[in-house]
Homo-oligomer: 326 residues x 2
Amino acid sequence: MRAIVYDGHLHYVGAYPDPKATSGWARIRVLKAGICTTDIEIIRGYKGFKGVLGHEFVGVVDCHCPKGGDPDWTGKRVVGEINVGCGVCEYCAHGLQRHCPQRKALGILDLDGCMADYCVLPVSNLHLIPASMPDNIAVFVEPLSAALEILEQVELTGFERAVVLGDGRLGILCAWTLLTALSDVTLIGHHREKLEKARWRGVKTQLEFPAGMEGNVDIVVEAAGSTRGLGDAVALCRPRGTVVLKSTVASEISVDLSPVVVNELTLVGSRCGRFETGLRMLESYPDMPIERLISAEYPIEEASAAFEMAVQPDTLKVLIDIAEKG
Amino acid sequence: MRAIVYDGHLHYVGAYPDPKATSGWARIRVLKAGICTTDIEIIRGYKGFKGVLGHEFVGVVDCHCPKGGDPDWTGKRVVGEINVGCGVCEYCAHGLQRHCPQRKALGILDLDGCMADYCVLPVSNLHLIPASMPDNIAVFVEPLSAALEILEQVELTGFERAVVLGDGRLGILCAWTLLTALSDVTLIGHHREKLEKARWRGVKTQLEFPAGMEGNVDIVVEAAGSTRGLGDAVALCRPRGTVVLKSTVASEISVDLSPVVVNELTLVGSRCGRFETGLRMLESYPDMPIERLISAEYPIEEASAAFEMAVQPDTLKVLIDIAEKG
């Protein structure tokens, strides 16, 4: 099959071995995949992963090895949760496969990813896509669910004002999801064009660090991925407020955490979310301008060009088109 | 009056001006005061405070300027909350004077402290001490309440295993308070003698960083005040667990926060607590060996010797005896 592979270098490979679905797993013919910051970190060598890249996708189940009384998923259009847990530990028992110490993760950890003609996942990871939802929206279920994880982790009762730092893909999705729960949401970034695309319903945008907002924000989401993001977030947050850490900064950062203690802030690390909530939000807010976030789309053969585009500062989402032609 | 004053240097002053109680405030004749890490930070110049030091005390109300229908507190033995809010802002309205943006704080911010014959505080900050409670225990209400703040901030349901990093005064009090809520509490420190004093009921102690505990602890309290404390705490904490930041490290620290995001940890900054809970705990656990934490006691005139003793690595609490003799 065709695949985008990282083995120390990024390659398009025309004849990578097809994956096999074992008992309880399905093989998915991938239609579209998205490039995420994690993929970019991998090709910069930060994660130690080697194999087929990619974990954001929409596809059609190609074959399914049913276990027990599983219904047959063959032919269904699906998205898939990316973490595969051991199935028996305490985390897996609570639906937290993403924290299983033995987990694999699609295109990230011990499991080939979705930037290929086929990938495999357990059937329990799959979610059916409504027929009315275009592929170009369905491929956003993974990052949108990651943004929605904030609403699952943080009790927002009594909160009014939110600030999101960072006008990248994830920052914009975080601002949109917060707006479904809070009335006053401001996205702060450095790119005029991205900020324009972020304006949906009442989301406010700002090019500069806001004067007079310091110490007045109930919840600040750090999605800038810069080394100074955390310090800025702490400065904006009111006493007893919450700072959500949504981006992993690959290097050590130097930070003065004494305001966290003095102001009794809560810092919440936040990663993947449940796909049910992402799918529900896409259905509840059909006016959410998700497709605005697509900066470009490349055929799988043009892997290098796609990744070069993805790292440009003005780029939002880059999609990989994997559907076979003709 | 006699006072311990910081004006760029630490002094004992034999004739400092007596403070005056204004409407709604009381003047307290101080019996005992405790030296806290914050006092040590002040004499190292970190806080910018100048004036009479000290915020941990027990004393007797000397005179009271009642406002409206206040009962007369004169002659009562009391401890006092250290933060004085504006009384009208949103934080003050919720009993969170300690987060009022206009607050003063006894011996820390714009208000002379308690290491003197007299200090003044609003009557609403005072708490009556039961007759049966010795001065040497009552003076611990402030730091014990700070430790108990953890139980107010963190929902411990479902938590079993706690680790406290740091065998200083606050670390030991945190371990004792956690033991009232959880069955498995380990204090980790570097001083054999302090760790011995920390053993109360089931509290376990350890001299070394524990092998095999990484990623397995539900709640880790960082009370070591060292620059590597946070990194250690994050490494010990299980996915979705909680790290409490109890010590302010005066300098910037360099830390890799990506495990906080990947493991979706919650970091909670924690400072002062409510005195009601500290007093209640002292009454509920009369066997709690608080007096073990007193390393030495000095008359107010020997301020320099007292502070020199307080900064020794093996010292726990140093008290200042202020009761007038004869």
